[in-house]
């Protein structure tokens, strides 16, 4: 799946950068230099970037300009990186946020 807008009636043809690859949750995806993680994943049809830390409900991008923090992912071991503000690098390892333990909450779980 490639959802890139290659031809645009006003903006013209897409001026894509060098092609590269990165991994998201163990799967390899293509991207172009200069693309954000969020844009590159959406271009491949990936919309869910994490799950709610407690409820496990899926989350994607919301504001796409760094305000809402909905798209936070782990990049090369660094947590809470905004996928909408971070450019893809060749060989980057990106993982989605997962459900976290809530051992102190009533009915919570430890792992």
């Amino acid at each position: 799946m490639n959802q890139r807008i290659v031809h645009h009636p006003v903006l013209g043809s897409l001026d894509a950068g060098k092609s590269l690859h990165f991994r998201f949750n163990g799967t390899t995806y293509p991207a172009y230099e200069g693309e954000t993680i969020a844009a590159a994943l959406l271009a491949s049809g990936v919309r869910t970037l994490r799950v709610h830390e407690e409820k496990g409900t899926p989350r994607g991008i919301y504001c796409n300009i760094g305000h809402c923090y909905e798209c936070r992912v782990t990049v090369d071991g660094v947590p809470t990186v905004r996928a909408c503000m971070t450019l893809v690098q060749d060989g980057m390892e990106v993982t989605a946020g997962v459900v976290l333990p809530t051992p102190l909450k009533k009915g919570g779980h430890s792992q």
Binding site: I5, V10, A39, T48, G60, Y62, C63, G66, H67, M85
Partner: protein, 401 residues
């Protein structure tokens, strides 16, 4: 220590940087986004004379000019604190502290979120997110979508999405709630659209010459609430329909809608679910002013300017020594107004630094802001002049300037 630090590389920040760097100040800009231009980057609309306003090109031009004038631009840098120092200001950033004698906060505006049930599903995004994804990042946000929230911004961006080949099924209202306020009342939304349609020249009319051909205004006048709404560029705009819920399991699958009475209340039995693979929520814009607040700047609540704005005079000075503001942080208007304000702020900073060669230049720039505002293509609020005057009086009262 640098002479001027500018937070925000949008149209206001870049214009300010160019103006004061040309007066000989050493200037640095920091911006959280990965490239300069701010939200100007995503803008794409047709001007009254038929030419296209291409925000990407405008941003590239400002970026080039700023660098040519010697401005240092650092992107991907977030600012999380500003404090006054004995010689100016210190900004705490993700790249360390930056000391400056003069500080300009040009952080723009942020979108107001509208928590429609289901809004956290992947595939739901703000209308501005869709604009950036489509025009800047050149990725489709989906195949067929619904826009919740009818205002100047959402109508303009709907057209931009359509240009990129993305289908907009319809535009509808948000459900009435304490947070959506007037945006959920058909009559209020209709009035706001009629208001902009009456502006001369009117952005709504200019955006679609089709409007004139189809006598859109006439039809609005004859029957205020056409049952199927009216169409702009074949996008149905339904002011008597509201979203009740965004539905889906792992991502957006559709929107549950209902016909609503003029007061926004759903009409029983009129509910249906329409399929969609993405939803854009348009809640309007408000000044992004946290940094001015933590700097200790006094504020005024001015609804016509978009909400809480830092008090400032027509030279873009706040009551705090060495602190300036420009662009949408001072009130939500167009990029052109932001650019004109940026030039004022830049010259004003140069003046504060004792480096402004010709004070007439600053006076001219201040006049130019008024001229640009009068000619603005996109007028966000009818009482902007009044709101600006209120803030000006407050600035006078607080500093005597």
């Amino acid at each position: 220590m640098i002479d001027a630090l500018i937070i925000g590389a949008g149209p206001a920040g870049l214009s300010a940087a160019i103006a004061c760097a040309k007066q000989g100040l050493s200037v640095r800009i920091v911006d959280e986004f990965y490239r300069a231009g701010g939200r100007l980057l995503g803008q794409l609309h047709q001007e009254p004379n038929g030419t296209w306003w291409n925000g990407m090109e405008e941003a590239a031009r400002l970026d080039r000019e700023a660098r040519a004038a010697g401005v240092e631009i650092a992107c991907g840098v977030s600012v999380f604190n500003v404090v006054p120092s004995s010689s100016g200001w210190i900004a705490s950033t993700t790249e360390g502290e930056i000391e400056t004698s003069l500080l300009l906060i040009a952080t723009g505006a942020s979108e107001t979120a509208v928590p429609v049930p289901g809004w956290t599903l992947p595939g739901v995004m703000s209308i501005g997110a869709a604009q950036v994804m489509t025009n800047v990042q050149r990725v489709r946000v989906g195949e067929r979508g619904v826009i919740i929230g009818v205002n100047i911004l959402s109508v303009a961006i709907a057209r931009e999405l359509q240009l990129a080949g993305i289908q907009i099924d319809r535009m509808i209202l948000p459900p009435v709630s304490t947070v959506t306020g007037k945006a959920g009342f058909p009559e209020a939304v209709m009035r706001s659209l009629l208001r902009v349609a009456h502006l001369a020249p009117s952005p709504l009319i200019r955006w679609g010459s089709q409007l004139m051909k189809s006598s859109w205004m006439q039809r609005l006048g004859v029957s205020l609430y056409p049952s199927q709404g009216f169409s702009m560029w074949d996008i149905p705009i339904q002011l008597r329909t509201a979203a009740l819920e965004i539905v889906g399991t792992n991502q957006v699958e559709g929107v549950r809608i209902a016909r609503v009475a003029p007061d926004g209340q759903p009409i029983p039995g009129s509910e249906q679910i329409i399929p969609a693979d993405f939803v854009c929520i348009a809640g309007g814009l408000s000044p992004l002013a946290e940094l001015a607040a933590i700097a200790g700047c006094p504020f005024a609540y001015v609804p016509s300017l978009g909400g809480h704005v830092p008090i400032h005079n027509d030279r873009m000075q706040t009551p705090l020594p060495g602190l300036f503001v420009a662009g949408n942080i001072t009130g939500v208007e167009s990029a052109k107004v932001a650019m004109a304000q940026g030039i004022v702020a830049g010259l004003s900073m140069a003046d504060a630094h004792g480096a402004l060669a010709d004070s007439a230049e600053l006076e001219n720039a201040i006049r130019q802001v008024g001229i640009v505002r009068q000619r603005a293509t996109i007028q966000f609020h009818p009482d902007i002049d009044e709101g600006r005057a209120t803030v000006g009086q407050l600035a006078l009262a607080s500093t005597g300037k």
